[in-house]
């Protein structure tokens, strides 16, 4: 048998008058009433964002101020709603990071299309695109809802870098053992 018959006790006289139960309920609600509110009064008080939160996608720079994106366009290709548009560009030869070769000329994320899935962050080989903790954005026009490159860097700021991949590559090249 997959079920069990629960024996129901007949209600006692006190229970049948409802009164003790009602008083118990009143006690509970009174306790709730004098307790501080649960509500967060939103625009003034903000929730704490847990680590790993997937907010608005942003572009980040490394601690040396180099833009990490190399415009490989993997995020553009992986993006399920096709929210990302990248126009790749060359890094000028006189730039200290010229050995990186490429950087985006234009980088637009259409926030009306973005579904905050985080695939762009996952696919990025340079750890350049991050879904950070901005969760609320609004605008009056469709154009305003497209984050361009300047806006993306402004939102992203700088994140710590564990690898300094391109610096190591340059150092190795200068030491004579670089190259593919």
């Amino acid at each position: 048998m997959s079920f069990k018959t629960v024996e129901r006790k007949p209600l006692s006289f006190a229970e049948r008058t409802y009164v003790p139960q009602i008083l118990g309920g009143l006690k509970t609600t009174f306790k709730k009433m004098v307790k501080p509110n649960e509500t967060l009064e939103y625009p003034e008080a903000r929730p704490t964002i847990p680590p790993g939160y997937r907010g608005v996608p942003t572009l980040v720079k490394d601690p040396n101020g180099r833009e990490k994106c190399v415009s490989c366009q993997l995020c553009e290709f992986v993006c399920p709603p096709k929210a990302i548009r990248i126009k790749p560009g060359e890094i000028p030869a006189d730039d200290p990071t010229a050995h990186v070769e490429k950087a985006p000329q234009e980088f637009d994320i259409d926030m009306l299309r973005c579904i905050y899935c985080g695939l762009c962050q996952e696919v990025c080989p340079e750890e350049a695109i991050w879904l950070q903790n901005v969760f609320s954005l609004s605008g009056y026009t469709r154009e305003e809802m497209v984050n361009n490159k300047a806006k993306l860097y402004e939102l992203g700021g700088t994140l710590p870098d564990d690898h300094y991949k391109w610096d190591k590559k340059k150092a190795a090249e200068e030491a004579g053992n670089g190259g593919h």
């Binding site: 009602i22 309920g25 009143l26 509970t28 709730k32």
Partner: protein, 380 residues
């Protein structure tokens, strides 16, 4: 000032007093609607309405933010909204009765104030306590019941004149419920008046006399009737919840099964009149309960008001008496709201069963018991 007032014709005096009482009860009813929202919010762990801020008053330092947190401007906004909204009348209603129903709701609620004393002052000339009342008539409680129960007509009229399904069901439920609970309510106050009207002096049903008999010296004299007759107080309170259509008895407008009940087809100002009438009814019901069972304006059991205010100026004594009475009344209004946000609604058959099979026999047994007890005590 007082001379000018006393020199006016009697009907002008009476209308002035009446206007003051109405001017008091309507803001109380309005404040109740705000209190309801705030208390429900606090019980549910929310801050409640606190965003609206009016120009002028809202920008006064300290006071403005406090008023804003309390949601006072929401109350003003609600009131203004009701007054200025477009007056929509559905095409299928019976116009005459449709307009009549809110009036029939409001008028009896306001009329009952006439016989309910809301305080007392010490009259130095006669050295006695006089009630603050519009008309100290002997019928007292009888008038409250007679006029107060007229408000059921408004629910029936509203339900019927709306000419639509849910209001009609709401009206039918309201009439059945109010009539069933009125019986127990009336029976539950009989022992109080049996006790008040000791043989000898002229009999009275005045509410002032009830409070007077709770402010006598001695252990039995100063005892509030809630201690002397707890069962009467209980039956009266339960019937009061049913009579004022409050949770858990709000059958007439149980929004889950009847949309809005009898006022489904009503909007804007007419709806707000129903609302004010409901709160006015509740305020007066609480007031009557306080007078009958909780010693009216006596601050504590066995502590009558009279010696406390005997030496004070008339206006101060009157103010103290009225504040004590209103304080107790407000506690009961709070109780109504507290219960509303605690209990779920009864099913309609449970309401009827409770009224006819439980409360009414209890009330009848109660009357018989107290009648015998009082007869034995007074014979001894």
């Amino acid at each position: 000032m007082i001379e000018l007032y006393l020199s006016l014709p009697i009907w002008v005096q009476a209308s002035l007093k009446g206007l003051i009482a109405i001017g008091l009860i309507i803001p109380i009813a309005g404040a109740c609607s705000l209190a309801e929202r705030k208390i429900s919010a606090w019980i549910q762990g929310r801050p409640g309405p606190n965003r609206a801020r009016a120009w002028g008053l809202g920008y006064i330092p300290i006071l403005g933010p406090i008023l804003q947190r309390l949601g006072v401007f929401h109350l003003m906004a609600d009131g203004a909204k009701f007054v200025f909204k477009e007056d929509v009348v559905p095409g299928h209603v019976n116009k005459f009765y449709y307009y009549l129903a809110p009036l029939v709701a409001l008028v009896p609620s306001l009329c009952t104030i006439v016989v309910v004393p809301f305080g007392a002052y010490f009259d130095a000339a006669t050295e006695t306590l006089k009630p603050l009342i519009l008309a100290d008539v002997d019928v007292g409680i009888l008038a409250v019941f007679a006029i107060g129960s007229l408000s059921v007509y408004s629910l029936i009229l509203a339900g019927w004149a709306s000419n639509s399904k849910y209001p009609f069901l709401g009206g039918v439920r309201a009439s059945a419920q109010l009539i069933s609970y009125e019986l127990s309510m009336t029976l539950s106050v009989i022992p109080v008046f049996l006790w008040v009207n000791a043989p000898g002096p002229e009999a009275t049903l005045s509410l002032f006399a009830v409070v007077e008999s709770q402010s006598q010296p001695g252990f039995w004299g100063g005892m509030w009737f809630v201690f002397l007759m707890p069962l009467c107080a209980f039956v009266f309170l339960v019937s009061l919840f049913a009579e004022t259509n409050r949770q858990p008895f709000d059958m007439p407008e149980s929004e889950a099964d009847l949309v809005g009940g009898f006022h489904t087809e009503y909007g804007e100002f007419k709806w707000s009149i129903f609302f004010v009438a409901e709160y006015a009814h509740m305020t007066i019901g609480s007031g009557v309960f306080v007078l009958l069972f909780l010693g009216g304006w006596n601050p504590l059991p066995w502590v009558p008001l009279e010696p406390l205010i005997a030496g004070l100026p008339v206006w101060l004594g009157g103010l103290i008496g009225a504040s004590v009475f209103l304080g107790k009344t407000f506690f009961f209004i709070f109780l109504f709201m507290w219960v509303r946000w605690t209990l779920p609604r009864f099913r309609y058959d449970q309401v009827m069963k409770l009224g006819w099979q439980k409360l009414l026999p209890i009330a009848i047994a109660n009357v018989i018991f107290y009648a015998l007890a009082i007869a034995l005590i007074e014979r001894a």
